[in-house]
């Protein structure tokens, strides 16, 4: 691994949304448009700064800076390596679109929403750029707290209950992670950094201890990553949150948990130790169960966002499955799926938000004929839904193909069945939506049966969805373009398997 290049840019990227937050707070109440602009500018700035590091990252550089030692031997330290950069790029990109989208979507108490959104952006970037697991934990916990107001933003009873449920899951999970970190630090050798490929070893600690540490990490991050016994908050939080927040939840915040598990497996344990301790077994089993169960439960949901949420539960476990396969193609597929799913699910939630705003319809069964009144939205939705099923020429296919070949490469071809069942199930729960929207007559005949392209919805909400839908195809076709997921993920894999 290359030496770290001292650089202010990671810090700048983290601070920029914070600056926009300050501006939002300090500007007087009447400048609504200006506030929206500042909010978008903040996330755009963060994205720009992250993007500016791309050439260096592709050259194999690592940027970083130590901020402040928070307790002895442990400091808040930012580092941008290929994996962190990859996650940072995905999240800032989705965040730009979500800020644009929210400026059209959020009509009530928008300052609070924008403020916490900017805060979440900062903290998540901190997660992506953390040099040690402690820094990761600090930003992760702050992000948990800052995302709570996003979930309950609607202030309905259901939203409040969902928010409380979220905290009930997330705060004990944070304590479990802290427990893992403490064991790791005080009994596992004292190196918390995430820069090398495995800092723990059997020399410093017993097998039992290392297994306990891993399970604590896995369980703690697994709450955010929605692994099956711990996924209870996900299907409640998504429908309750406003659409941009659900898009971010599914697109990035769930991934922060998965990303944490990737970091733990790859950088803390290292694949060798991971294999040696047989830790992949619980991970593969739980990921497979989650994939199947998430899809099965999605089938039964009538509420569109709830259905999408269960779909996310299943999809995030693809990432974990890929990592646990420990074969180059599997890891590549898992890491690439992180971005792919963010694109697809972000778009799906944006579309569901447009449908809700425009027609007031939450449930799939009510959506007959929506495709006519909202044609562009529903086309975007259909593209992404097809991609979720794994249709060729979309990003969904790439992930599934790589994961399938990874399973073969890892000599576990049985897992292909899991992937196939999941694809089949997702066809079962996505196709009816498309069918209802385009081919079912609305019950009241007053709605016209011709496509109405004009005045569909405000451009601020439509364009983010369109951009994502286009990207789902573009990234799925031109896979290896630099800055697309493949280039960065393959860098990570190259380091891992040489």
């Amino acid at each position: 691994m290359n030496a770290e290049i001292g650089c202010m840019r990671p810090l700048m990227a983290i601070l920029l949304p914070g600056v926009s937050l300050l501006a939002i707070l300090l500007l007087p109440g009447k400048h609504q448009t200006l506030k929206r602009a500042v909010h978008i500018a903040g996330s755009l700035g963060a994205f720009g700064v992250v993007l500016s590091m791309l050439p260096g990252i592709l050259d194999g550089n690592v940027y970083g800076m130590e901020l402040i030692p928070i307790v002895e031997l442990i400091s808040i330290h930012l580092t941008v390596d290929a994996l962190g950069f990859y996650f940072g790029l995905v999240l800032t990109f989705l965040w730009v679109l979500a800020t644009v989208y929210s400026s059209g979507y959020i009509k009530h108490k928008d300052e609070r929403f924008y403020g916490f959104m900017a805060l979440c952006n900062s903290f998540l970037l901190g997660c992506a750029f953390s040099q040690n697991i402690f820094t990761y934990f600090v930003f992760y916990e702050l992000m948990t707290l800052a995302s709570f107001p996003l979930i309950i933003h609607e202030e309905t009873d259901a939203a409040r209950r969902a928010g409380i449920k979220y905290l009930k899951y997330a705060i004990p999970a944070g304590a479990v992670i802290l427990f893992a970190i403490l064991l790791h630090f005080f009994r596992g050798g004292g190196d918390l950094s995430l820069v090398s490929m495995g800092t723990l070893s059997l020399d410093a600690a017993s097998r039992t201890l290392l297994t306990v540490v891993f399970l604590a990490y896995f369980g703690g991050f697994g709450v955010k990553a929605a692994i099956v016994p711990l996924e209870g908050w996900v299907p409640d939080a998504h429908p309750a949150a406003p659409a941009p927040a659900s898009a971010l939840l599914s697109g990035v915040i769930l991934k922060a948990g998965a990303f944490g598990i990737i970091r733990v497996v790859v950088n803390v344990f290292g694949l060798d130790l991971f294999k040696e301790l047989n830790l992949w077994i619980p991970m593969i089993v739980l990921a497979s169960i989650t994939i199947i169960l998430g899809s099965v439960r999605a089938l039964a949901q009538d509420n569109l966002k709830r259905r999408l949420a269960y779909s996310s539960v299943g999809q995030v476990s693809y990432i974990l499955l890929g990592i646990a396969l420990m074969s180059p193609l599997g890891v590549l597929g898992g890491i690439m799926h992180l971005a792919h799913h963010a694109l697809m699910k972000g778009c799906l939630f944006f579309c569901s938000g447009i449908i809700l705003k425009k027609t007031g319809k939450k449930n799939v069964s009510e959506m007959a004929g929506v495709g006519y009144s909202l044609p562009i939205t529903m086309i975007c939705f259909s593209i992404c839904a097809l991609a979720m099923m794994g249709t060729p020429l979309t990003v969904g296919f790439i992930s599934k193909w790589l994961l399938g070949s990874g399973a073969v490469q890892a000599d576990k071809p049985a897992l292909i069945i899991v992937l196939l069942i999941s694809a089949l199930l997702s066809a079962f729960y996505y196709l009816p939506i498309i069918y209802t929207a385009f081919f079912r007559r609305p019950q009241e005949d007053s709605e016209s049966q011709t496509f109405q392209f004009k005045g569909e919805t405000s451009p601020a909400m439509l364009w983010p969805a369109v951009v994502l839908a286009v990207l789902v195809i573009v990234v799925g076709v031109w896979v290896t373009v630099p800055a697309f997921p493949h280039s960065l993920a393959s860098m990570v894999v190259r380091v891992l398997f040489t």
Partner: protein, 511 residues
Amino acid sequence: MEAYQHFAIYAIVTPLFVAVLIPIIALWKKNWAMPLAGLALSLSFVLSVLLVPKVRAAGYLSYHLGSWEPPFGIEIRIDFLGVLMMVLISSICLIVAIYSLRYLAPVRPKEGKTFFFFGEEMEAGKRPIYYSLYLVLAASMLGFVATGDIFNMFVFFELMAICSYALVAIPGTGLPIRAAIKYMLMAVPAAIVVLLGIGLLYSVTGSLNMLDIAGRIADSAYGQVIVVSYVILIVGFAVKAAVFPLHVWLPDAHSKAPSPISALLSGLIVKMGIFGMIRVTYSVYGAYFASDLAWIVNALSWVAAAAIIYGAIMAIRQSDLKIMIAYSTVMNIGYIMLGFGLADVTALVGGAYHIVGHALAKACFFLCAGSIISRSGYLKIDDLKGAARKMPLTCAAFALASLSIVGIPPTAGFVGKWYLVWGSFSTGNFLLGAVVIAGSIMAAVYCFRVVYYMFFLPPADGAWQQVAGEAPASMLAPTWLLAAGALALGIFSSWIVPFLREAAESLMLLN
């Protein structure tokens, strides 16, 4: 003798002197009380801060009162922990004194209602007495941490106690008086017991100077008497520190006292009990510490764990804001006791850091509660629904302080707990470490419930409509200063911890 050596005694005596002056001046100028008190306390603060580098350079600062040589004369002996406590005491006393100004004498808002603390007609007469007692309290706390003479320590301890009883009861209405009597019924016997312990110690060592006693204890033949005197002293201080089974007075006194006094009680006065334990254990009984007293201290760590769990459960169950905060203090005292009871340098650092961090955050809690009470009159947590709509800044300060109480990473509360867990892991007490973490979760339950009510729930019908709005600046600024301090101490802990570690090592080295 250089000038700075007099700083310590000036820092202690100035508030005492001004305390005498205030009632006299108040005969003519009633409104001078607060500025005078503020001046005296800021002088103490400046002097304490100036002492820090001196104490650090020399390890300790020794001053002989009236130039009588110790062990015969009274010695002021400040080590690093002592000077840190002096800075903490003088700064928090100053901040809370500023807060008291408008709490005691609210300016009537143009619209809405206001709550006069003493009742409108009485307040002008009582305010000078309040500040006078307040200054004596501050001076006695400063003296308590600075002195090197165990009997002098007792005198300051009693002075502090008397002032705190009076200040709890100062509203003069039924409940505060009841609370003060309950407080006295526990604390006065405790003080008698402390005196008895000192007497026993004197009877076998023949000295009152702590350093001298520590030397004489080492080769004393009266081992059993020394152990008994230690237990008696610890029990006496434990009542004052409200350590779990002896905490009964605390929730009443903290919740019924005027809010600035609650802030001092929770932030500083209970810490004095703990400081007394630490001082006695390490500076006086150092020689016996490792052998005959280890089991007592070890038992204290389990008492502390019980305090954490008990305090947290009780805090969760409360419906009154100030009683909830008071039980949270019982819990946090458990944390500090744990740092002391583990008898490990790292854990002691954690305990000492928690003293500072908790003092800031908890004082901020009580000041926020005071602002809310003086603006709206609401005491119940249920009534706080929607409070942020009228008092956003106060509620935000409360939220920031609750991060520290819970122990979310870049706050002072986290740093303290981190070292506590480190200490318990390195001494092999995994269960105690788990209790620390579990306590954090329970703290999250009771803190975030209030924050959630304030920010995310709509007010009940008609509630908060009469409220004039945000507290005045002279109440907001102290609140925010404390909250920001709790945050800053978390971020910049690496500047303070090495000093604390040195101080803890030098304390433990006396063994």
